[in-house]
C-alpha cells in the first residue's frame, strides 16, 4: 500500500479523487488544498511514495512548482506527478516542471477516471507512465539536459543579482527606474547586472529578454531562484 499526497485547490474534486484512489487502488491519500499547507503536511504524513500536484492555484501567490520543489527537497525518493487541466495558462509552468524536476507522469484532470487511476498504478509499479495524450504536445520530446535546477545558481552569482531579481518581481512596472527605487541600486548597476545574465537566460529559452519577459520568468521559476537568492543575501550579510 502506497502513501500518496494529493495537492489540489479544488477541494471537493480532490476529496473525491482521493477517495477513488483509496477505493480502487487501495492506497492511502493525504489531501492538501493550499500551497501554504504543503510544508506542514510533509512533516505529518511520513514517507511519501507519490505526490500528485496540480499546477494552478489562482487564489494563491504561487504555482504547483513551489509544492513540487518543496516535496522534492523533502525527499528525493518521492515520485512526482502532475495532475492538471494542461491548458494554455499552465503550459509554461508545465514545461518548467517537466524539464527541471523528475516528473514521472502528467495526468489530465479531464481524462476518464479509469485512465487516471491506470497512470497512477503504472507510476507506482514501474516508476513512470506516458503523459496524457492531450497534454503530450505541450512537453518537449527530449528533456534539455543543459537546463537543470542547479543551473539557476548562475542566475544569482552574488547579492547584487539577488537584489535585481527581488526588485524585478516586487515592482508594479518592470522598468529600471522602479527597480532602482526598490533595490537602492544605481540604474547603471542594474543595467550591467542584466547584461551579465542575458547569456545564461538563453538556456531558459529567453533570447535577449525585455525586463517584462525576465519578470514573468522570475515569477514562474521563483521556487528555483529563491534558494540561491537567499544564499546570496545571507552571504552578503
Amino acid at each position: 500500500m502506497a502513501n500518496i499526497l494529493l495537492v489540489d485547490d479544488a477541494a471537493a474534486l480532490a476529496e473525491l479523487f482521493g477517495r477513488a484512489i483509496e477505493h480502487e487502488l487501495g492506497h492511502t491519500v493525504h489531501t492538501v488544498v493550499s500551497l501554504s499547507e504543503v510544508a506542514a503536511s510533509l512533516a505529518l504524513v511520513g514517507d511519501l511514495d507519490l505526490a500528485l500536484v496540480d499546477l494552478s492555484f489562482p487564489q494563491e501567490d504561487g504555482t504547483g512548482l513551489e509544492a513540487l520543489v518543496r516535496i522534492h527537497q523533502h525527499s528525493r525518493a518521492t515520485k512526482l506527478a502532475i495532475i492538471t487541466q494542461g491548458d494554455e495558462w499552465v503550459a509554461e509552468i508545465l514545461r518548467d516542471a517537466w524539464e527541471l524536476l523528475p516528473i514521472t507522469t502528467v495526468i489530465s484532470k479531464s481524462a476518464p477516471l479509469a485512465y487516471q487511476l491506470q497512470a497512477i498504478a503504472t507510476v507506482l509499479a514501474v516508476g513512470w507512465a506516458a503523459p496524457d495524450p492531450a497534454i503530450q504536445p505541450l512537453l518537449p520530446t527530449k528533456r534539455d539536459t543543459t537546463r537543470t535546477a542547479e543551473r539557476f545558481s548562475r542566475l544569482v552569482q552574488h547579492a547584487g543579482h539577488a537584489k535585481l531579481w527581488v526588485s524585478l518581481v516586487a515592482v508594479d512596472d518592470a522598468s529600471y527606474k522602479a527597480m532602482a527605487d526598490h533595490s537602492g541600486l544605481k540604474l547603471n548597476t542594474l543595467k550591467n547586472y542584466r547584461a551579465q545574465l542575458v547569456d545564461e537566460l538563453e538556456t531558459h529559452g529567453l533570447h535577449d529578454p525585455t525586463l517584462r519577459d525576465m519578470r514573468r520568468f522570475a515569477k514562474r521559476c521563483w521556487p528555483f531562484l529563491e534558494p540561491y537568492i537567499n544564499a546570496a543575501q545571507q552571504g552578503r550579510g
Partner: protein, 424 residues
C-alpha cells in the same frame, strides 16, 4: 526590501548619468517606437539641422581657427543626431553600455556647447537656444525608456539650490572682483545663457511629461472600460450558458429519465463545450498554439472511449497560428474527430506538419472510412470541404485497416506581440 530614505524625486548623480547617457542604453524592448516618439526624434533632427545652419551662417568670422571649430561642431551634431534619425526610421542601434554612451555623448555635447560659445560669443549664444529644446526632448525620451515620471521643475529648483550653482555664482562675483566690469561683460551673458538653456530644456521636458502623463491616463481609462465590459460579458456568459447546462443535468436527474451513464455523457459534453469556449477566447486573444488547439478534440475523443494512438510532437505543436488559420484548423479537427467517432472508430491519432505556407492536419482512425463523393450536402464535413481549397481534403486508406484524412490549410504564423520585423 524597500529603501526608505531614498527620495524618488531627488536629482542625484545617478540621474545625471542616466540622462546624459541618453535613451539608447536603457532600451530593453518594452517601449517600441510609437508615432509620438518618432515625431519627437524628427523634431530633434530638425533642430540639430537648424543649430548647424546657425553656426555656419552666423559665426564670428574674425575668430582664429573658426573653420576648424565650426567643422568640429558640425561633426559632433551629426553624430548626436544618428540615434534620432534611426529612431525616425524605426531602426534600433545595438544597445551600447551606459559608460560608452555617457562618455561619447558628454564629449560631443561639450564640443557643441564650447564651439557655440566660441562661434557666437556673448548674448549671441542665445541664437542656439533651440538646441536646448532638442536636449529636453532627449531627456523626455530617456525618462520614457526608463519608466521614469520626470519632475523637471523639482529638479531645476534642486539645481538652483545646489552647491554647484552657488559655486558658479561665487565664481561670477569673484570675476567681477578680480577682473572688473570688462570680465563681467563676458561672464554674465555666459551665466544667463546657461540658465536660459536649462530653463528651455526643463520647460520642454515638463511640457512633454505633462502630455505623456495625460495620454497615459486617457489610455488607462480606455483599458479599464474595455476590461469592465469584458467582465460583464463573461459574467453574462457564465450565468447564461453554464447555468442552463447545469439546470439541464439537474432536471434530468430530478425527473429520473436518465441513467448515470447518460448524465456522465452530458457532463462530458458540457466539459467539451467549456473547452471550446476557452479555445474561442484564445482565438480572440490572437495567440493559439497547435497544442492548445487540438487539446479539446483529443480529450473529446478520449472521453468517448477512443484510444489515442499518436499526437503531434512538442516542436510541431508549438507553432502559433494566426486567428484565421487557427479557426479553420479547429473546424477541421472538430469535424474529422466527430466523423471518426460517429463511424465507430476506437483508435484515433493526430499529426500535424507545416511546410510552404500550408498546415497539414492528419487524423487517422480505425473506422470503416468514407468517400468524399458520399458526403451529404450541408453537413459539417461537406462545408469543410467547400471552405478548404480544391484538393484540401484527401482520404488515404491504411493498408492494415482504417483511414487517414489529411486537411490542407493555408496558414500564417502569428507574430509575437512586439516582434514586428521592423522593430527587431
Amino acid at each position: 526590501m524597500r529603501v526608505p530614505d531614498r527620495d524618488e524625486s531627488e536629482f542625484s548623480l545617478d540621474t545625471w548619468v542616466a540622462l546624459l547617457a541618453g535613451s539608447n542604453p536603457w532600451a530593453t524592448g518594452e517601449h517600441h517606437e510609437n508615432a509620438w516618439n518618432r515625431l519627437l526624434a524628427l523634431v530633434q533632427v530638425f533642430i540639430v539641422a537648424v543649430t548647424t545652419s546657425t553656426l555656419w551662417w552666423a559665426r564670428d568670422t574674425q575668430l582664429s581657427n573658426e573653420l576648424a571649430i565650426v567643422i568640429g561642431a558640425t561633426v559632433a551634431l551629426v553624430v548626436l543626431s544618428v540615434h534620432p534619425v534611426l529612431r525616425v526610421f524605426e531602426r534600433r542601434t545595438r544597445s551600447l553600455t551606459v559608460r560608452t554612451n555617457l562618455i561619447v555623448r558628454v564629449v560631443l555635447l561639450a564640443v557643441v556647447l564650447l564651439s557655440t560659445y566660441a562661434l557666437l560669443p556673448g548674448w549671441r549664444t542665445l541664437w542656439c537656444t533651440p538646441f536646448a529644446v532638442a536636449c529636453g526632448i532627449d531627456a523626455s525620451l530617456t525618462c520614457s525608456e526608463l519608466g521614469w515620471k520626470a519632475r523637471p521643475i523639482t529638479w531645476y529648483s534642486q539645481f538652483v539650490r545646489s552647491g554647484f550653482h552657488f559655486g558658479v555664482i561665487g565664481a561670477v562675483i569673484a570675476t567681477f572682483a578680480v577682473g572688473g566690469a570688462t570680465r563681467l561683460s563676458v561672464v554674465v551673458p555666459l551665466f544667463a545663457v546657461l540658465h536660459v538653456w536649462l530653463a528651455t530644456a526643463v520647460g520642454t521636458l515638463w511640457a512633454l511629461s505633462t502630455l505623456h502623463n495625460a495620454s497615459i491616463a486617457e489610455l488607462e481609462d480606455a483599458v479599464a472600460e474595455v476590461v469592465e465590459g469584458e467582465r460583464r460579458q463573461r459574467a453574462h456568459w457564465l450565468h447564461d450558458d453554464v447555468c442552463a447546462q447545469v439546470r439541464l443535468v439537474s432536471l434530468k436527474l430530478q425527473t429520473g429519465n436518465s441513467t448515470t451513464d447518460e448524465v456522465v455523457g452530458l457532463l462530458d459534453d458540457f466539459d467539451h463545450q467549456l473547452r471550446l469556449r476557452q479555445l474561442d477566447e484564445l482565438f480572440g486573444a490572437g495567440s493559439v498554439r497547435i497544442a492548445e488547439l487540438l487539446q479539446p478534440y483529443i480529450r473529446h475523443a478520449q472521453n468517448n472511449g477512443a484510444s489515442i494512438a499518436g499526437v503531434p510532437g512538442f516542436e510541431e505543436a508549438a507553432v502559433q497560428l494566426s486567428e484565421k488559420s487557427a479557426r479553420l484548423t479547429a473546424r477541421a479537427a472538430n469535424v474529422l474527430t466527430s466523423n471518426a467517432l460517429n463511424a465507430g472508430a476506437t483508435t484515433i491519432s493526430y499529426d500535424v506538419r507545416t511546410a510552404d505556407g500550408y498546415l497539414y492536419l492528419a487524423i487517422a482512425d480505425n473506422g470503416p472510412g468514407f468517400s468524399l463523393a458520399d458526403v451529404p450536402h450541408g453537413r459539417g464535413l461537406w462545408t469543410l470541404i467547400h471552405d478548404l481549397k480544391p484538393g484540401g481534403l484527401t482520404i488515404n486508406p491504411i493498408p492494415t485497416g482504417g483511414t487517414t484524412v489529411v486537411a490542407t490549410i493555408p496558414y500564417t504564423e502569428r507574430e509575437r506581440l512586439g516582434q514586428h520585423p521592423a522593430r527587431r
